[in-house]
Symmetry: C2
Subunit: 356 residues, 2 copies
């Protein structure tokens, strides 16, 4: 009996990457670009952030096939100073554009400056943590902000979607095995959890969602017709708006009523915006001392007295790191539905996908 | 009958500022420095952010008098590049140190660079929005992060305070009457609201606080022995840790177990850290086009369909702006308790405070 029997299909990292790169090749993406895109996508699966992994792959391929995204983008700076830049993604996949933008920010900061690069004409860029972590490998703090690909939130008090559940990430280098990473969207709960509750017929907590009239609801079916609610009420509204403005107003990317629906309209370029920033540690603090202090901070945090039933305190990003170690060894578990969808997509292009 | 009769004392802006500057003079602060400090403090009262206004004035004076803060700091850069700097606040009041740091960041960004200045050896700096807004007057986006003056939060799953309710602010210039400003701490509710509930004997929502064992509680008395809970659970934990690390690890300011209690220990310098950043609009986008787009974004947000019972949608920072217009005219309402405390403090130094 294979490990893959049962409710999930287990797929090896290398196999999943090969499959994705092959499929992207069939919709016009070069092998080099596809490798960049897929490293990001599969890392999300490895880290257990399944919502931003290969579950998104079919929609990326659909959009490329339908002309909504550009498989061969000419990514270029349209405005630049020594420490800032505006990158036009030429409607390329967000993962490719995002990596190029963060690489450019890191390059600009090589001599000790802080640097920020904004991006327009991009697409959904997957898990934000990936870009922030890139900076940590150069002993820099990395920051990134993005417009979400769908408006799922209302302004506080509203009953009409006008804001994305805009994610952002900040990553800190450490002297340990993994960086400390915040990666969050601004809703209390992901929409996926509401979909699960609707399927199960169980009520949802009152702070997860509002119905189509904008009033909070515990009925998941009403919630799916409505909106996700932001963390901390008006705080989360202000936060998701801030992330959205940072991601769009510095580049000319779309915001608010300009944002189209990633899944419902496959043909119109989304003009998604991002912002990437880096702060090189050495310009502020001796890197060795910084790492010692980060290690002490980690001991402080993880060493606190625990609440009843809690076995261990995790640093932000630690669970994802541990999950990645596990999945690198034992493969990536995909739901049968996702696995079937990927296989079906592959068949369209003659690309197989094998279980581990 | 004066407007000040009843449950609040109403004090004019100019009178309140004069009183505060005079008192600070008696504990060694120069008139010029005091004016800077008090502009920030009283602006919080004007904006309705009473928790960061003159309610904090007595503790600032106590700490100055007890030697916990330095009335005549020698604020200076200890590390600097063209776009970054580390400012040592020499244990001056946070409002003074913060303004100097943000001024320095703005100066560094004058030729179009982004710039970040970290701070160590500072103190509680009041309302974060004030510093972020400074940048908007130069057509720059302003960002600021700070360590809170007291550890009120546990790491997620913990039962021991190891994190401040660390605030941060981001402000965007607009072409309108006021900037768009996010200014938030990371808890669901301010501790002050729990104090009020305890006085009233009313239960608190389950997501506001945990008791001393780290388990969530609706009993405000238990909550006051325990900890405030972060917005979005583990998200808010990661967020407050991120704000704390940004504020301390780039400057050598205290974090975690190093943080002393602002009110319980008046004599030990707190070594509070902050971070200030600016992004000049013109380096990314034509300023006129940016302002047009911000105006369109505001129309999008404020024009959405409203939830039942909602009369108006506000932009982040708009309520505070409106409150300021009102209080500039009609005076600042102080609770009788706060007014009495200020008068008593003034009497110690022969400084009067008059009601409007």
């Amino acid at each position: 009996m294979s490990k893959s029997d049962g409710s999930v299909a287990r797929v090896g990292e290398a196999e999943l990457k090969r499959y994705c790169v092959d499929v992207l090749g069939h919709v016009g993406v070069s092998q080099a670009d596809a490798a960049v895109i897929i490293d990001n996508l599969v890392e999300a699966d490895l880290r257990g952030v399944d919502s931003h992994g290969v579950v998104r792959f079919p929609i990326y391929v659909e959009r490329l096939a339908a002309g909504g995204s550009n498989p061969r983008p000419n990514i270029r700076f349209v405005r630049e100073t020594r420490t800032t830049g505006v990158l036009d993604g030429d409607n390329g996949l967000g993962q490719l554009v995002g990596v190029r933008a963060m690489e450019a920010a890191i390059e600009k900061a090589r001599d000790g400056d802080c640097a920020f690069v904004s991006v327009r004409n991009s697409n959904h860029y997957g898990a934000a943590a990936y870009y922030a972590e890139m900076a940590t490998r150069h002993d820099m703090i990395g920051l990134t902000f993005t417009i979400g690909g769908i408006n799922h939130m209302t302004p506080w008090g509203g009953a009409e979607a006008m804001l994305g559940n805009n994610p952002f990430a900040v990553a800190f280098p450490t002297g340990g095995d993994f960086p400390v990473v915040l990666d969050m969207a601004c809703s209390v709960a992901a929409r996926g959890k509401i979909i699960v509750a609707a399927k199960d017929g169980t009520p949802i907590p009152a702070d997860w969602a509002s119905g189509p009239d904008g009033a909070p609801t515990t009925d998941p079916v009403e919630a799916l017709k409505g909106f996700v609610l932001p963390v901390g009420g008006p705080k989360g509204y202000a936060l998701t708006m801030t992330v959205g403005l940072l991601s769009s107003m510095l580049s000319g990317a779309y915001f608010g009523s300009e944002v189209t629906h990633m899944y419902d309209d496959l043909e119109t370029p989304q003009n998604i915006g991002h912002l990437f920033g880096v702060l090189p540690i050495a310009s502020f603090e001796d890197v060795g001392r910084y790492k010692e202090r980060m290690a002490k901070a980690a001991r402080d945090i993880c060493g606190v007295k625990k609440a009843p039933g809690v076995e261990r305190i995790y640093l932000p990003g630690e669970r994802e790191y541990l999950k990645m170690q596990d999945r690198r060894k034992s493969g990536i578990p995909l739901s049968r539905a996702v696995f079937a969808e990927l296989r079906e997509l592959g068949q369209r292009y003659g690309v197989a996908l094998a279980e581990a």
